[in-house]
């Protein structure tokens, strides 16, 4: 897939996310939109995976530790053929295949059940240790939030990854500078990230998290780093792609109304709404 195709995919995913959230009447637009390029690059360019065999032992694993960005992952999984697109419109509803936060048991293609923040990196370490034990070459990808690094467990896990030299693990930090109650600097201030992760024994990349070139390059280079886990600090914009949501903490966990969704969709180039 070339750059233009990736960009078009990202646009389509954003359209799905807006439509899903408007229909669900609850959910998290801001952190779903900031992570679109990250997850698109992983699924369309970097990861080895097979939509027709979601349990393939040799697949790369994906752990969405910031589980509230589930709509982005669901849109991508459906577009790749893991499940039918019609499920997107029952997100968060009783009886749906698609839970508010990722659930391995029901949803094809979900490798880790998440939603309680701070736990995904430990899970990813477990997957990475298992791959090493079994001498398998698959890789583990984990996406965490910047606010999520408030959780002590992230740093406990960070030490584990380095201690066991988990070079088959690559974490992407969605650095959108906001959590729920405000700017990350004003809440617990987890900065500086680069120096912290380096001090914890990680190999660090710092890139523009909306640039497919930079994401792809860092993810490919991370494969060559031996003896250490890698983290990509990806600078992003919360709510990216919808002007009235960008950089606004209010849009963390408030879904768009139908009218707001229609404005957002027009802005994203869907003149007649998304194709259902």
């Amino acid at each position: 897939m070339d750059n233009d195709e990736l960009k078009e995919t990202a646009r389509l995913v954003r359209g799905d996310v807006i439509e899903m959230l408007a229909r669900a009447g609850s959910g998290h637009p801001g952190g779903s939109l900031s992570a679109v390029e990250i997850i698109v690059t992983l699924y369309y360019k970097v990861m080895h995976h097979n939509p027709h065999n979601p349990h393939d032992d040799n697949r790369d694993r994906f752990i969405l530790s910031k589980g509230h960005a589930a709509p982005t992952l669901y849109s991508i999984l459906s577009r790749l053929g893991y499940f039918d697109r019609t499920h997107l419109w029952s997100l968060r509803k009783c009886g749906s295949l698609l839970q508010g936060h990722p659930y391995t048991f029901d949803t094809p293609g979900i490798d880790a059940s998440t939603g309680s923040l701070g736990q995904g990196l430990s899970f990813a370490n477990g997957c990475a240790l298992s791959a090493k034990l079994d001498k398998r070459s698959y890789r583990i990808y984990c996406v965490i939030g910047d606010g999520e690094t408030n959780e002590g467990q992230i740093w406990e896990a960070a030490m584990t990854s380095a201690r066991y030299r988990l070079d088959n693990l690559c974490t992407v930090l969605d650095f959108n500078e906001l959590q729920i109650d405000g700017r990350i600097q004003d809440i617990k201030n987890p900065l500086p990230f680069r120096e912290k992760w380096e001090a914890f024994g990680w190999n660090v990349f710092e890139i523009d998290g909306h640039s497919f070139e930079e994401l792809n390059q860092a993810l490919e280079q991370a494969k060559e780093i031996k003896g250490r886990p890698s983290i990509i600090i990806a600078h992003t914009v919360k709510g990216k792609g919808v002007s009235f949501m960008e950089g606004k903490p209010e849009w963390h966990g408030t879904p768009p109304t139908r009218e707001e969704a229609d404005i957002a969709l027009r802005e994203l180039g869907f003149v007649d709404g998304v194709t259902l």
Binding site: S96, L98, E148, E151, Q179, I187, P190
Partner: protein, 315 residues
């Protein structure tokens, strides 16, 4: 129709009221101040509010330290994270030394709805009940919430107060004032008793009214204080011979078991528990979930009728 009112707003308003009078009142939150409504306290008393970020364990430990230095601390986050994520900190740092930390846990039960299992606390009462020295309160409306926030401030030692995400029908008058350790008898009757808490009190009352129309007299107790449980009220209920408990919580370890323990040791009778039956729920609106998981007025009504039939057949 009763007026509907938010328990979380009642909590925040009471915090501000208390904060005006008491300099030693401190509020902590864990990046959910908008949802728990402690943001209203923050806006009024920024210097006595600390947003700990997404760090529930850290918040409970910090609350313990503040309380050990003479502060009365209200610490809030979602019930699952307050109880589950920070359980051992609550147990060892707060409850063991009997510190005045008032955990006000919002979004209790599966009535949280569409966020799904990762955010639905259906086991919190069970795991908190197992810890000594802590009082567990599940208010059934906004008025009772106000009362218990005052009570928690006044009473030394740890509290776990569980609030709902949905606003609830107002059951009590504004001047509501009662014994914090006693259950509230909302309806009398001689044929059976329903003991409920929180969001399930109102539907319990409705179920009892429906039974009354059929000539079946049912007592309804609002057991807002689950620990220590009102043993006298439970015995009074047990004397009818038929007790149904009802809660937005697992049937393991919650109100049903607190009541069951008393019944077993003081006045054995048949008991039936309405709640989430040893399974996880799912995402969905509360309206849909309560139908699917059996937390409705209809279900309480049926449970009581079945119990009456079962006992009649056995005796």
């Amino acid at each position: 129709m009763n007026k509907v009112s938010s328990l979380r707003s009642a909590y925040a308003e009471t915090l501000i009221e208390l904060g005006k009078k008491h300099e030693n009142l401190i509020v902590l939150d864990a990046d959910l101040a908008m949802s728990t409504k402690t943001v209203l306290f923050k806006n009024t008393f920024p210097e006595r509010f600390f947003d700990m970020g997404i760090s529930e364990a850290d918040m409970m430990g910090t609350a313990a330290g503040l309380a050990s230095s003479g502060k009365i601390v209200f610490a809030s986050t979602f019930a699952l994270f307050a109880s589950g994520r920070a359980w051992e900190q609550v147990r060892s740092a707060i409850c063991y030394p009997k510190l005045s930390v008032k955990i006000v846990a919002t979004h209790g039960g599966i009535s949280v709805g569409p966020d799904g299992v990762s955010h639905q606390a259906a086991e919190d009462i069970a795991i908190m009940r197992a810890v000594p020295n802590i009082r567990i309160i599940v208010p059934s409306d906004a008025t009772q919430t106000r009362f218990f926030i005052h009570e928690a401030y006044k009473t030394p030692g740890p509290f776990y107060i569980r609030l709902t995400r949905p606003a609830l029908p107002v059951i009590y008058e504004d001047r509501y004032n009662f014994n914090p350790l006693s259950a509230n008898k909302l309806k009398d009757g001689e044929d059976g008793a329903i003991i409920a808490c929180g969001i399930m009190v109102f539907p319990s009352l409705k179920a009892a009214e429906k039974l009354q129309k059929e000539g079946i007299g049912i007592k309804v107790f609002d057991m807002s204080c689950i620990k220590p449980v009102d043993r006298k009220a439970v015995v009074e209920a047990a004397k009818t011979g038929h007790v149904v408990t009802c809660e937005d919580h697992s049937t393991i370890g919650g109100l049903g078991d607190a009541v069951g323990d008393v019944i077993l040791s003081e006045h054995p009778c048949y008991i039936s528990k309405v709640g989430l039956s040893d399974r996880f729920a799912e995402s969905g609106s509360w309206n849909k979930l309560k139908e699917k998981y059996g937390l409705t007025e209809e279900r309480i009504y049926k449970e009581m009728k079945n119990l009456l039939i079962k006992v009649r057949q056995k005796t």
